[in-house]
């Protein structure tokens, strides 16, 4: 699996989608990197995996829908969303619950990703 990793910047998402604005700021950073054709890898850890759940409805919160922003990532050549496998099972979800493009990362792969990227931005 490690051969599929790209160099460049690793963006790590650790926050749930709507309790603060960090998750959105991180996604905006990913979109900006994509727009400038800088290679980025997205990794969702701990509560960050909740950002990926489908059928989000943020209308009652008065916030922009996070899932719709995520769905636009392929337009910026960001196809793969790496997901902390342990966090996913802790939260009671399976990979089939997540959008197309989500891939499981176990502890070893997460460690390798953290070690191999030039820059790491954590949101």
């Amino acid at each position: 699996m490690t051969e599929s990793l790209k160099p460049g910047t690793l963006l790590v998402f650790r926050q749930p989608p709507y309790s603060n604005s960090l998750s959105r700021s991180g996604l905006d950073t990913a979109l900006a990197a994509g727009a400038f054709e800088q290679p980025v890898t997205l990794l969702f850890l701990s509560d960050g995996i909740l950002q990926l759940l489908p059928q989000q409805d943020s209308a009652g919160l008065g916030k922009r829908n996070h899932g719709k922003v995520l769905a636009s990532l392929p337009l910026y050549d960001i196809e793969t969303l790496w997901v902390d496998a342990g966090a996913l099972s802790t939260c009671g979800y399976a990979i089939d619950d997540l959008p197309e493009g989500a891939r499981l990362a176990d502890r070893v792969l997460i460690r390798d990703m953290l070690a191999q990227h030039d820059h790491i931005l954590a949101f």
Binding site: Q15, S21, D28, A33, F36, H119, F123
Partner: protein
């Protein structure tokens, strides 16, 4: 070595913002290049001029302003984050018909492209907060 910093921590919460300011000073004092400091999300409140702190608390915005005035540090507030938190320069205050500019001297508003550029052009990019 060429350093850039991404500051996500608010100036009035926790110690991440202060740690970033001290790190930035250490980068310069150590003879390295501080290429850019990018303030995103709650970090963008660092450049708000109308903040009033208790007298016995460290004025972290003053540390940043000193880095800009004495060492020419480039301090960029993410424009989207800044506007949401009331940090406006003259252009934005006029554009949105607000009473006054509220940005501290030494800070500038800029887009996320400047963060992406810092990613590409720096040897080290450190995140504070988040």
């Amino acid at each position: 070595m060429k350093y850039s910093l991404l500051v996500l921590s608010a100036p009035d919460s926790g110690s991440g913002n202060l740690a970033a300011a001290r790190f930035a000073k250490a980068v310069i004092d150590g003879g390295h290049q501080l290429y850019r400091v990018f303030f995103l999300d709650r970090g963008a409140a660092t450049g708000l001029a109308s903040t009033v702190l208790p007298q016995d608390e460290q004025n972290v915005a003053g540390l940043w302003s000193a880095l800009a005035s004495q060492h020419g540090a480039e301090l960029i507030l993410c424009i989207a984050s800044a506007l949401k938190q009331g940090v406006l320069d003259e252009t934005e205050a006029t554009r949105y018909e607000q009473a006054a500019a509220t940005i501290l001297p030494g800070f500038e508003l800029g887009g996320l492209g400047l963060l992406v550029e810092a990613m590409a052009d720096s040897d080290r990019l450190l995140t504070f907060g988040g």
